[in-house]
């Protein structure tokens, strides 16, 4: 019996768990099991790789491998457990970057062993370049999402610079592979790929980060597949290609949910031209007191809550749920309107509200709730902005023009809770706030909702 065959079979099983795991992940009922299923497959693939080896390996190497896995497990586990649900998207980005860095490192280390074998060198270089782009790009996406990097600054003619750099990268890969397999070229390529990753993500606005993360995710998948090619390793190939293709598909689906095209997200972005046109939409805004807002909602028949990232940042989802239950006990019908990209990522808001025990039946997706707005007495917008901006429908010069939005302006009253008049993620003004039907309720979401709840209790 050949030990290699046992390992091959383990890899086969692991590959199947990846496919089935992904399949189960795309259905809410089976998603959690699917994730665990894939994790189990991964576990066996890793254990198998360590135990079933050819030839002898010095014990020190085993200690190092096991020690490294231990360190990575502890850090990864703690980080993933400790992270707040609101910070989930940037965490995913960070972990994705780690995978990319791992792929790049593997290529850096293997290069010297394959000098002279041109097709292997091509594979190594491609893996390294894609892995490095994924790494530096993910770190930028992480910094943007957690607020460290707020501005999306752009070099002049950044699209041209990026394209030139990309062509340079491809040309340099061919040059290094066919003409000059020097370590110096390898390092130069490595550095250029890192720079490209940064320049690639920096001009893209924060609102589009989910799409970027999803794309970088499929990049890492691709880099993993190149690793699989290098070692002729089936499990790396399956895992890598699966994520590469599923990730690309998911990226396109996400763009579709925002009514944008991928090229528009990556190269067009939110242009600055629209801002001059939209800023003219000013008028006067109307304040409302907490008491008046409470009265208004208390005597309504239907209230629709539109939660946004502001709600998540203020950790106000639990108070929100309390408010909802209180209103329900007074005979008010309360529903939530969830925009596909509410929060920072598609589905992010559902996760946050589910965490605070909001009934699933009450969470309505955009297409289901939009027809209800004309019959809604009060819409309470909490920390959302761009997803309720009518400019997406009315103003063709607006950067978010064409994005599907929640038609809250059709309701009888609109109460908008915001911390200030600051613009939303897209960086544009919102004419909804100047609508005569709209009242502004300024303050931190948690504070305001808590006051609303106590005010309602006295009624």
């Amino acid at each position: 019996m050949n030990k290699k065959h046992i390992l091959d079979i383990i890899y086969l099983i692991a590959s199947v768990t990846f496919v089935i795991g992904l399949k189960m992940l795309s259905n809410p009922q089976s998603a959690r099991k699917g994730n665990l299923f894939a994790a189990a497959g991964m576990f066996f693939a890793i254990i198998g790789t360590i135990i079933i080896k050819h030839g002898t390996v010095a014990p020190i190497i085993y200690y190092l491998i096991c020690g490294s896995i231990f360190i990575g497990t502890v850090i990864g586990w703690v980080a993933a457990k400790k992270v707040k649900m609101t910070a989930m998207p940037e965490m995913v980005s960070l972990f994705n970057g780690m995978g990319g860095a791992c792929a790049a490192l593997i290529s850096l280390l293997e290069f010297q062993h394959y000098v002279g074998v041109t097709h292997k060198i091509i594979i190594i270089l491609l893996g390294m370049v894609i892995g490095s782009i994924s790494f530096s790009g993910s770190i930028i996406a992480f910094l943007k999402l957690n607020g460290t990097m707020k501005k999306s600054f752009r070099l002049p003619k950044y699209n041209i610079i990026n394209t030139v750099l990309l062509i340079f990268l491809l040309g340099f890969i061919s040059y290094t592979s066919f003409a000059n397999q020097q370590p110096l070229c390898l390092y130069l390529l490595f550095a250029s790929a890192l720079v490209y990753g940064i320049l690639f993500v920096v001009p893209i606005g924060g609102a589009d980060m989910p799409v970027v993360i999803s794309l970088l995710n499929s990049f890492t998948g691709l880099a993993t597949a190149f690793g699989g090619f290098l070692y002729n390793n089936q499990v790396m190939l399956t895992g890598g290609i699966l994520v590469g293709s599923a990730g690309t598909f998911l990226t396109i689906v996400m763009c579709h949910a925002m009514n944008r095209t991928l090229t528009n997200v990556l190269f067009g972005g939110f242009s600055e031209e629209g801002t001059s046109a939209t800023s003219s939409a000013k008028g006067s805004i109307k304040d409302i007191s907490v008491t008046d807002a409470a009265v208004l909602m208390n005597y309504s028949k239907t209230v629709v809550i539109v939660p946004g990232y502001g709600l998540a940042v203020a950790q106000a989802q639990h108070v929100m749920h309390e408010l909802e239950q209180l209103l329900e006990s007074r005979g008010v019908e309360v529903k939530y309107a969830i925009h596909p990209v509410a929060g920072r990522m598609p589905g992010h808001m559902n996760v946050l509200l589910a965490e605070s025990n909001v009934d699933y039946e009450k969470l309505l997706e955009m297409d289901d709730i939009n027809s209800d707005f004309p019959n809604t007495d009060v819409v309470l917008v909490v920390g959302a902005n761009d997803v309720v901006n009518p400019a997406a429908k009315n103003d063709s010069s607006s950067p978010i023009y064409g994005m599907p939005i929640l038609d809250v302006e059709l309701a009888r009253h609109i109460i908008v809770n915001k911390r200030s008049m600051n613009v939303g993620y897209a960086g544009i003004d919102n004419e909804l706030f100047y609508n005569p039907k709209t009242s502004m309720l300024f303050g931190d979401a948690k504070g305001v909702l808590t006051k609303l709840v106590s005010e309602l209790k006295t009624m």
């Binding site: 692991a14 795991g21 992904l22 399949k23 992940l25 259905n27 809410p28 994730n35 894939a38 994790a39 790789t49 360590i50 080896k53 190497i61 491998i65 490294s68 896995i69 360190i71 990575g72 850090i75 990864g76 586990w77 993933a80 457990k81 649900m85 989930m88 995913v92 960070l94 972990f95 994705n96 995978g99 791992c102 490192l105 593997i106 850096l108 280390l109 097709h119 993360i213 995710n217 890492t220 880099a223 993993t224 597949a225 690793g227 070692y231 499990v235 890598g240 290609i241 994520v243 590469g244 293709s245 599923a246 598909f249 996400m254 990522m345 598609p346 589905g347 992010h348 996760v351 025990n357």
Partner: protein, 102 residues
């Protein structure tokens, strides 16, 4: 041109594998509801953590005397583990909430 044909011919099984896997990847997540986009992305993120297998192979093939390679290889293993463990745990935490549906 001849090189390309030779390369494809010699690796034809691999190419088949590649092409079919691409279709499987797309088909398998075909009709995912938008609610699941984030968890699915996160789950896929964990799966490409299989790159860790590559970093282990690097380590297994390294000479015990080559300190630099061992250090870099160990870092690669740590990074790969972060991707795998962090990825699966984060995904699990997101999906915890989907089970409460009654």
């Amino acid at each position: 041109m001849i090189d390309v044909i030779n390369f494809l011919g010699e690796n034809i099984q691999m190419i088949y594998f590649l092409v079919l896997s691409i279709f499987v990847g797309v088909e398998v997540i075909g009709k995912v509801p938008s609610v699941l986009h984030t968890p699915l992305m996160s789950g896929a993120n964990a799966i490409h953590g299989v790159i860790i297998v590559g970093s282990i192979i690097v380590m297994l093939n390294t000479e015990p005397e080559n300190t630099l390679l061992l250090v870099l290889g160990s870092i690669a293993v740590v990074l790969g583990t972060l991707n795998v463990v962090g990825g699966f745990v984060v995904t699990d935490r997101m999906l915890e909430f989907f089970k409460k549906k009654k």
